[in-house]
Amino acid sequence: MTQVNRLDGGLIDRNTPLSFSFDGRQLTGYAGDTLASALVANGIRLVGRSFKYHRPRGIISAGSEEPNGLVELRSGARREPNSRVTMTELFDGLDARSQNRWPSLGFDLMSVNDRLSSFLGAGFYYKTFMWPKKFWELVYEPIIRRAAGLGALSGEDDPDVYDRGYRHCDLLIIGAGPAGLMAALTAGRAGAEVILVDEDFRAGGRLTLETHDVGGMAGCDWADSAIAELSTMDNVRIMPRSTAIGVFDHGIYSVVERVADHLAVPQPGKPRQILWRVYAKRALLCAGATERLIAFDNNDRPGIMQAGAVRGFVNRYAAAPAERIAIFTNNDDGHRTAVDLAAAGIDVTAIIDSRDEAPASDVAEVLRGSVVSNSSGRLGLGHVTVRMAGGGHRHLDCGALAVSGGWNPNVHLTCHHRGRPVWQDDIAAFVPGDGGPAGLAVAGAARGIFSTAGALADGQAQAIAQLAEIGITAAASKMPEAESDDINITPMWHVGGTKRAWLDQQNDVTVKDIRQAHQENFRSVEHLKRYTTLGMAGDQGRTSNVLGLSIMAELTGKTIQETGTTIYRPPYTPTPIGVFAGRSTGADFRPTRLPPSHHWAVEQGAVFVEAGAWLRAQWYPREGETKWRQSVDREVLATRQSVGVCDVSTLGKIDIQGRGAAEFVNFVYSNGFATLPVGKTRYGLMLREDGMVMDDGTTARLGEDHFLMTTTTANAGGVYRHLEFVRQCLRPDLDVQLISATDSWAQFAVAGPNSRAVLQQLVDPQHDISNEAFPFMACGNITVCGGLPARLFRISFSGELAYEIAVPARYGDAMIRALMTAGEPYDITPYGTEALGVMRIEKGHVTGNELNGTITARNLGMEKMVSKKKDSIGAILSGREALVAEDGLCLVGLQALNGTDVTAGSHLFAVGTPVDAKHDQGYVTSAAYSPHLEASIGLGFITNGAARHGEIVRAMNPLQGRSAELKIVSPHFIDPEGDRLRA
């Protein structure tokens, strides 16, 4: 319970103690702590193990760049591997465990890798593990895979939900440090729509971690006052706990808001996180800078940290990383740490400053021109070795080493469009270059302006400039007073040594690895990265890249600018996959379309099937039916013998009107439509311009200038788009208006010899639907049930005497019930998509199984339907030589012999030929059991099929070890003459 390293002061709420556990140890922190600060306060330095060598790892930062402090957070299905302790707000009951160690964090057997490191250098795995060949999958890889990875997923479905959101603004400000806050005040006061996002739960950025004053008050108080003022503005939205993770084209920013990560469990129904898509006219990146370390031998011991993080823990969280702390710096900023530590009563062992001209210090001894050359201590820092300016070494006792190697501006978002940063010598760092995303400006430390006063002024100036570009005038205001110190850096990248000096602490990339990569000619930065994995850790190299580049630059004799950088990519910080998916997961992955009879079908106990976006009744089981085939066979037979009814509302319906409607329809179908009489329906074949069949359906002429086209269910959207393309882009000369009518109508196929008798009970008596008055392919507007407008089509997919009756969708439920009542005397049977499929195969109608995008009209035996006398889409290219070859595929019917079954997906072979690809003659597209023929039948394509009716072929299905003997027949198994249709 004791927080051994807890100091006085800080921005924590001592009235709200929080208990948490780490590796099973019960500990206490306070509201306002992060898990990192609470661990520091509790004296815990060792928090993890590195990736390759399983070296002990401690926290090195206080921010989102943390590469080492990764834990498994929470338990059960909410377990979150690789959670950065620095970004985890402490909450009561928080449960965290270290990862990538066995059996324990303190005693990790895998750390044997560290002893073998001479053999595990950069790319060692490319050079071995090749013999014997089979051993890769059997032996080596399983071992490597088990050893690799850091944390583990729970293996259970993520129980939380995620939302998406969309916001618009004039100016998006990324980061609520001094630059961001000043920019927000400036823009907010000017009345601009402002969104201010910050990844922290407390605004202020570095101001929350520092002690210096702004505007005559503590920096964090100034930040609070700025937030207070901004909160009163309706035009300003402040989003804490929100990280701008990516910049996309044209001012689209993705911002992840962590709504509930600071709670044990999100509130019911509410999201864990929200992915905001922010549409910003302009944006200002005020993301600050990240302090870098200096490479020296064994610089990876827990306790060796960024200097700014050390004082941040002390100042904001009142948590001391150690009782005695040494400082290693190459710039003035390191000295600020010494002042803050001393003020907090911490013993500053010494300031080791690599600069010969280092300033003096009131609080500690300054070792000028000296460097830290090694460290020691078991599982954490105990001593550092200092190589003194004049030679010789000194050993210093310290529990922590605060390292300042200079600051890298957080330029990442400026590189998301592949812009490259440029090197700025005076701060020894990359700053944003040209070629950043349009509309994104940068202010403050993110472009190398490190002083508080500089950041405040730049925030204001950049805000004014950005708003001016979109016509908003913002006024400058008096700047609050703040420090304006230079950091006076003299670059110092690494201290020469004989041991390993770490660059990327997560992935275990050392200076030696860079040397070896250079030696093996992996010198381009991209080769370097890929060969050594430098910068491929979760921080995308924020803590390691510049160091690595500086070393490669030394080796090649180039400058760092010439050496170049790899490209920062989104997301800025690691982001859960779940939040990108939002609510579109599981059953809500895509919306579901329900046909008008859906609720009725549910009452009937129907079994449903996903048909594209639709949910359709597949069959309607009756009591006693235990196998689907029983239901389907019954539905087919009942329809063919008496009457069946099926909801076909899902077929696409496109209303086509205008003086040019006939010419338009005639142009999009390959067969002729210009002469279709009013009141008639015709089958239409629609080709793509490349000559392949795109879709088919029946189109009715409801009036001289009015057509109603039907499409297949699957292609409704695509055909509509195609028609709009033709209307707007190819034939703007025609007077045509299109409107989708799919959802407007509830349409039912009423099929079977008694279909007319059933319908006659519902159709208003003034409409004669006798065979004479309303023959096959007739259509018309009628009324039913006492004046309700309806449409009737005499069309048939089943091959029976059949109608399709359409009523406004709101009457669909009533209509199916009315049909069932009217059909009672005939034992009317509702049928689902399976029976529909059986009957269309029996009739030889093609669907998506056949129309697979590689099929021509000729393949279907419909080459005569491609008129050569008119201009229509697809006619020209369907005449290419390979598409009119004599031995092309041809649609045939297939009937199984000798008790075998037709199986869709089987390949067809002539009897007596070898079964191999060379002798493959075609394939089966559709198969069904025909209860009517009491046979297994199907459709398929086979070379020269039209001439082969009667031939027996073999259908091979080696995938399932099956074969069948099939007879090639006409695809019209039922009523080839069409007598039933016309009855």
């Binding site: 509410k270 929200i274 809500d588 519902l762 049930c785 406004p808």
Partner: protein, 186 residues
């Protein structure tokens, strides 16, 4: 001969109403709608007929002309959706008479489901659903926009206070689910 009784798009006999937090989501049972499209080269006749039929000028893109009897919503170039303020089964027929050969008219009453959204949190809810900038919408702003992969229409009736959401009728359940889920997640 049976008389047929309509159902709402959600499949009920009465419209569905949900109150969640500060939001009220109301299914409108039987909107009377017609799709109105100008025929080629009939600009003058079309404009004139529109003025006579609606007593208002045709709306500009992104807007709807709101009158006592109709909302005329811009849907596309030379295309409009006419909404009758009270149930009017003859809307399409009347418009056909009004416009004659200047327009193509299609009854669209059954093409859509409509939910009305009122309450204090509706902007917060809409910004979880749609990329449309609902915060800046004024009365009569009409935007076609996807909501959870559905092609929808948001019509602002009173800035910040009252909106109608139109979606494809066959997707009514999915749209309703999206709306109440968003309302509950605020």
């Amino acid at each position: 001969m049976p008389r047929l009784t309509p159902t709402t798009a959600l499949g009920g006999t009465a419209p569905r109403i949900d109150e969640i937090g500060g939001l009220r989501i109301t299914e409108i049972a039987d909107p009377s709608l017609a799709a109105l499209a100008m025929r080629a080269k009939k600009n003058a006749a079309f404009t004139k007929a529109a003025k006579a039929a609606f007593g208002a000028n045709l709306p500009a893109p992104n807007t709807a002309a709101m009158t006592d009897r109709h909302a005329v919503i811009w849907m596309g170039p030379d295309q409009y959706l006419v909404e009758a303020n009270s149930a009017d089964a003859s809307l399409a027929g009347t418009l056909a008479d009004n416009f004659g050969s200047a327009a193509s008219i299609t009854d669209a009453s059954d093409a859509w489901v409509r939910f009305d959204l009122t309450g204090s949190d509706n902007i917060a809810m809409l910004e979880r659903l749609s990329a449309a900038d609902s915060r800046s919408m004024t009365a009569g702003t009409a935007t076609r926009t996807p909501i959870h992969h559905m092609a929808c229409l948001i019509l602002c009736r009173e800035a910040g206070a009252s909106f109608s959401i139109y979606g494809p009728r066959s997707s009514a359940s999915s749209l309703h689910h999206a709306l109440i889920t968003a309302a509950a997640s605020l």
